[in-house]
Symmetry: C2
Subunit: 275 residues, 2 copies
């Protein structure tokens, strides 16, 4: 999906919500557990209920890999279903890959091609290994790298906030340097909602790039704060919620409640898009 298509989708749906499909089998509602492919059945019902309010879906690979090949088959079916809605949503593999060049090239094939089984629009990538670990992902037309910059978790303080002798923090180095590798048309950054006070600094470095923002909801970040400092003229944000939507209800109406939660977020987002 191109940047223009993504921006058009956001303003058409008046939403920049990303629903995280962290579909942990142990948390699935009883009513889907007996399905032949419970994870796919769950995802399908979540997608159907939330699609009007949602511009992106983000399966987190860990929750599929932890059930081995069976888990990955559920993901493959989920991706087939999402491809049937191709123009209605942007699909992100939250996999945080990154390795030396010839290896990242293989990961790019795994996530961005049909041969790899998935054909995602975007992939989260870890920056630690530098340029040659990121560049192979940027060679695919209309595919996106979403590079970790300032993450939402407690451990983000351990290294991301380390300052060099000129006062630049590691995550700022990542934001600056990566702009030499990709453009606003194929590179986004992960910036956690739990660090909303940092968004104005972040926007000074990357005024136009899209930011993928986890940490609203279960992790405690505020949508209002994120938007106050993070929005740009093209919106420039994809705000993710996972557990707060998909596991909002454990009854047989789980999908209806998930749809309501997504709608509430979309309605708040719609207000912030009034420009």
């Amino acid at each position: 999906m191109t940047r223009k298509e993504l921006v058009d989708l956001i303003f058409k749906k008046r939403s920049f919500l990303c629903v995280g499909l962290d579909s942990d089998i142990e948390k699935l509602p009883q009513c889907v557990i007996d399905s032949e492919d419970a994870v796919f059945e769950f995802n399908k019902r979540i997608i159907d209920a939330t699609l009007p309010y949602t511009v992106a879906y983000k399966p987190n690979l860990a929750f599929y890999e932890s059930y081995g090949i069976k888990g990955l088959m559920s993901l493959e079916r989920t991706m087939d279903y999402l491809h049937s809605k191709k123009e209605e949503c942007f699909v992100i593999a939250d996999a945080k890959r990154g390795d030396i060049g010839n290896t990242s090239k293989q990961y790019a094939k795994a996530f961005f091609t049909k041969e790899g089984g998935f054909d995602f629009d975007a992939l989260t990538v870890a920056p630690y290994m530098g340029q040659d670990s990121v560049s192979p992902f940027l060679e695919y037309a209309n595919k996106w790298v979403i590079l970790l910059a300032l993450t939402s978790n407690k451990g983000s303080d351990d290294f991301q906030m380390i300052e060099d002798n000129e006062g630049s923090k590691l995550f700022e180095h990542v934001l600056r340097k990566a702009q030499q590798w990709g453009s606003e048309d194929n590179l986004m950054f992960v910036c956690g909602a739990t660090k909303a006070e940092k968004f104005s600094e972040i926007r000074k470095i990357v005024p136009n790039h899209f930011l993928l923002v986890p940490g609203v909801g279960a992790q405690g970040g505020s949508l209002r704060e994120v938007c106050k400092y993070g929005l740009n003229k093209d919106c420039g944000l994809l705000v993710n919620s996972s557990r707060g939507i998909i596991f909002a209800d454990g009854s047989e109406n789980f999908d209806i409640v998930a749809g309501q939660k997504a709608k509430e977020m979309q309605q708040e987002m719609s207000e912030y898009l009034n420009f």
Copy 2:
């Protein structure tokens, strides 16, 4: 595998060679291509030929994921085969994972349990997200985290060498901080052979930890230099070679040549273990 078992294995085989199973389908010898599962057939023959000279195997996940579920089935069969040689080798998933706590917990399940399909001894982990992204992997008895510190690729200069205002580089922060999370019995570090001149500094910070050393061979690192500065009383090194062994020959004798290459490395290693 415990540290003692690993050290005993090294001194028994007089080798600290790790063979990287980066089994790229496009590079497999013609003679295995027509097998029902060419990647597994290739791996099996490589393992059989190199096992006397090798203490560890390291499948790189990217080369399996790039063929989707079919690729992962080849890896699963390879792991079943390696488990049948359980006491003769240590098996590392080179997957460079790492995510927020509840997600890393799922990755740990994927790589360290039978339910995830693999049951590896060790996993390479990326440090960027800090403590809670690493700790879930350290909770499994006799399983190992191998944390990226100073990698062998060109891009390692981009962030890993950034200095704070006291002159400590990022990779040194990683070495220091991670020692608070794990011990010499469940934590190793990736330190690339292409940075051999850094090994004496590294050994000042982590004198006793094992180091996984990629970059000998195709990437240009020197085994002699690595050993000069990197060896400790328990050996403390696992030196990896991938392409230099597994793709040394493309004929039907590929496994015999791989075995010879592994033997050459083992013989050189044996000299360095004379203490």
